[in-house]
Amino acid sequence: MLDTFSFSRRLPSPAVLVMLAALLLGACDPLIGAYSAEAYRNATSLKARSLAMIDRSVQSYSSNASDATNLMTDISAAYEYSKGLENNRLSAAQWDEMRDPEKGLMGGFVAGWKRNGTTGAFFRSEKKAQISRAYDYIICLEVNKQRATSCADLQAAEE
């Protein structure tokens, strides 16, 4: 017959139980992928190139077609890179929205430029603000994988 004393003797000590719990917690998959310096570089450099490309849409699309295609190829490459990282579904979805010609970010902008030939000054100014904010969201999410940082602080530092 098992008395209370012998039963308690069979249990690991609380210290061991705590260590085991810590090990179990540590063994779980991370909730979100790790920070990637490459993904951060992609976002900051493509942001600068995208805003410069919007400025160039005062000219005809046909005279900038090659550069616009190269830019969209690089944005697609950033999406593929992001998609290939573990537990990175949210960042990959952001890049997918950025590149999709049916949506309202860079893919949609280049498709519209191609369709209309050039863009107006008011539209360029508003679109630049939109695209800038879109990249800021991508950058903010990447930075927060490493350390808790307010998105507003990141934008203020940039300005």
Partner: protein, 112 residues
């Protein structure tokens, strides 16, 4: 010190650490999400009347106006993805800190 005293010491250290950890890691998350959401709505509130006015004044074509509206939809999606990602990142940081706290509290209380 006997085992029960060490266990109590561990619990006190762990609970104190947990309170500080939860306050530092999670408390400001809901405030930030609320602030970011309000900032997004504020920007929408300013943008739509300005674009409508520009459309009526001929500064925007109908196609450009629609592209801007589509852009706003995409921005909302990115905003939501970022909000979810930030919550997950904070919870992951909390989980890592919890593991570290449990381990250091055991070392401290039991001298292992």
């Amino acid at each position: 010190m006997d085992f029960d005293a060490r266990w109590e010491l561990f619990l006190v250290e762990f609970r104190n650490g947990l309170a500080v950890l939860a306050r530092n890691t999670l408390d400001d998350l809901s405030e930030q999400a609320k602030g970011d959401g309000e900032a997004f709505i504020d920007s929408m509130k300013d943008d739509l009347p300005r674009w409508t006015k520009a459309l009526h004044e001929g500064l925007l074509t109908k196609d450009e106006f629609e592209q801007l509206l589509e852009g706003q939809k995409s921005l909302l999606k990115l905003h939501m993805l970022t909000a979810v990602g930030l919550s997950k990142a904070r919870l992951e940081q909390f989980r890592q800190a919890l593991i570290s706290l449990a381990t250091t509290s055991v070392y401290s209380a039991f001298g292992v």
